[in-house]
């Protein structure tokens, strides 16, 4: 298959989806003629203005640095906790309900507490992001390990694997696709929690979420900031985790090529 055809097949459907939304939006903007629904062109020029004066790049850079830090901490801690819960039944029964409770708590509920504990600072936002995303990682890791077919473990043991070697060589590789699904989920939660945190904790200067909460901002600017948040979020999900997931599944023969 030629590269052009591959690109068309790969990018065609999402572009049709996005194009459809923008068309409906343009029609709605033309029909209503209120400032509450600006036209796509108005948002585009607000975006260009933001790029020209550097506010969008600066905000995106700040947000991505915070995110990288929070996400790495959340993934490392979440995966390690998931592993501990998978290994130890007492820990699982003691701690799993707490993690589930954290998972179903709206992360915005942590913002006021975080501000009291850490002040209206960057640290408060990072805290909310970590608390908002690590439970997904822990639960996905635990689930992935517990769903490893028992025959893999038995085979590993008859091949001489025991203790930590059994985990390192058999159980964890077998659980990898489920762990990557958890990464993808945790990324969604982290991105949401971080931008919402930035929006509320205005003092956590700059950041994309902060662009959404600037006093006196007009609607096109707000929508431009929102679009940047969406595009970065989807791009990372699709290009990083989606690719990783497909690569792992293709290698294992779990991906049906259509």
């Amino acid at each position: 298959m030629s590269r052009a055809r591959w690109l068309a097949r790969e990018l065609g459907p999402p572009l049709v989806g996005i194009g459809g939304v923008i068309s409906i939006w343009a029609i709605a903007a033309a029909l209503t003629e209120t400032t509450a629904i600006p036209s796509p062109m108005a948002v585009w020029s607000a975006f260009i203005d933001g790029v020209r004066d550097g506010t969008i790049q600066e905000a995106a850079a700040k947000t991505l640095i915070r995110l990288a830090f929070s996400f790495v901490v959340a993934v490392a801690f979440g995966t390690a906790l998931g592993l501990v819960l998978a290994l130890n039944e007492f820990a699982r029964r003691a701690i799993r309900p707490l993690v589930v409770a954290l998972q179903i708590t709206p992360f915005v509920a942590w913002v006021p507490l975080a501000v009291i504990w850490f002040g209206a600072t960057e640290r408060a936002v990072v805290f909310v992001t970590i608390v908002g995303s690590f439970p997904a990682m822990t639960l996905a890791t635990l689930q992935a390990i517990r769903q490893v077919p028992p025959l893999y473990e038995r085979t590993g043991r008859t091949l001489g694997a025991k203790g930590w070697a059994l985990y390192r060589k058999v159980i964890l590789p077998a659980a990898l696709p489920g762990v990557v699904a958890g990464l993808q989920q945790a990324w969604g939660f982290a991105w949401k929690a971080l931008t919402a945190g930035e929006l509320i904790v205005a003092a956590a200067h700059a950041g994309l979420g902060h662009l959404l909460g600037r006093p006196g901002a007009d609607v096109p600017t707000l929508l431009a900031a929102l679009a940047v948040i969406l595009v970065i979020g989807v791009a990372v999900d699709y290009l990083l985790f989606g690719r990783l997931d497909r690569r792992i599944r293709r290698r294992r023969g779990l991906l049906v090529e259509t």
């Binding site: 025959l151 893999y152 038995r154 085979t155 043991r157 008859t158 091949l159 001489g160 694997a161 025991k162 070697a165 060589k169 058999v170 590789p173 077998a174 990898l176 792992i248 290698r251 294992r252 023969g253 779990l254």
Partner: protein, 278 residues
């Protein structure tokens, strides 16, 4: 005929200790509904070093559980399972297991799968690659060394699993109907392969092979142990002296096959009758 088949007469005790011994072994299992089923009932037999023994029996005769006990994956309810005279306590690299499913690990290449037991045994990388490639060549998979398991046919996967089982140089090979899920041609090829590998190796492995295929058992075994339907007991023992490599067209082999087959059919009929009478 008399020197072809020996029925359950006590064998003269050899000077050497048996490689595997099972004494009064009772294994029970619990069904999903909580019912306790006796899978094997006071089973006793021995396997000598270098001997190829086939365990033959109708489904549900506890063959798989028995094999798992010997593999160290299950604990017997009572009785003993011994390896070199010592009670079996967990799995070990001295006993390789071929399951019905090849269970190659899908995240590893075929070669890495074969290398895994060697790696776990602490063999240096260069050496284990050499050993793995030798075994892959033995089972005619050298061209597939870098493939992923899902790219192989079912028969090729089971051959790779055989290479992996033998690579670690175990004393004992335990197989649980490893060719049961294969088509007739692949099955025949693999039976020939096992005969060739086993006869060809300098110091022969002790082989315990579970099957419900009479031809397979007769083709491969020095001795066939026929088990009853559940709860599994030993019904009969056939010693097969036909020269190797054997062929199913061999008159001697064909005669043993039909004899074992008749006996097994009588047992299946009897067990169905018992089941109906309940």
């Amino acid at each position: 005929m008399a020197d072809t088949i020996t029925t359950l007469e006590p064998q003269p005790a050899g000077p050497a200790e048996p490689k595997l011994a099972v004494r009064d072994l009772v294994v029970t299992r619990r069904t999903a509904s909580g019912e306790v089923i006796t899978a094997t009932d006071r089973l006793t037999f021995e396997v000598a070093t270098g001997e190829f023994v086939c365990l033959l029996g109708p489904s549900g005769s506890g063959k798989t559980l028995l094999l798992n006990v010997l593999a160290g994956l299950e604990v017997p309810t009572s009785g003993e399972a011994l390896l070199d005279g010592r009670p079996i306590d967990g799995p070990g690299p001295d006993r390789a297991v071929l399951f019905q499913e090849p269970t190659l690990f899908p995240w590893l290449t075929v070669r890495d799968n074969v290398e895994l037991p060697l790696e776990l045994a602490g063999m240096p990388a260069a050496q284990r690659r050499t050993v793995a490639d030798q075994w892959l060549a033995t089972v005619h998979l050298e061209r597939w060394a870098d493939a992923q398991p899902h790219e192989l046919s079912a028969g090729m996967r089971q051959r790779a699993a055989l290479a992996r089982a033998l690579a670690a140089d175990p004393d004992v090979l335990l197989s649980d109907e490893p060719f049961g899920a294969l088509d007739a041609q692949a099955r025949e090829l693999l039976q020939a392969e096992v005969q060739r590998v086993w006869v060809g190796s300098g110091d022969r492995k002790t082989f315990l092979f579970v099957t419900h295929n009479v031809r397979e058992a007769t083709l491969l075994a020095d001795r066939v142990l026929v088990m009853s339907a559940a709860p599994g007991r030993l019904l009969e023992e056939f010693r097969i002296h036909a020269p190797r490599p054997r062929s199913l067209d061999d008159v001697l082999v064909a005669r043993v096959v039909s004899e074992i087959h008749d006996m097994l059919m009588r047992e299946v009929d009897a067990s169905v009758a018992r089941e109906m009478a309940r």
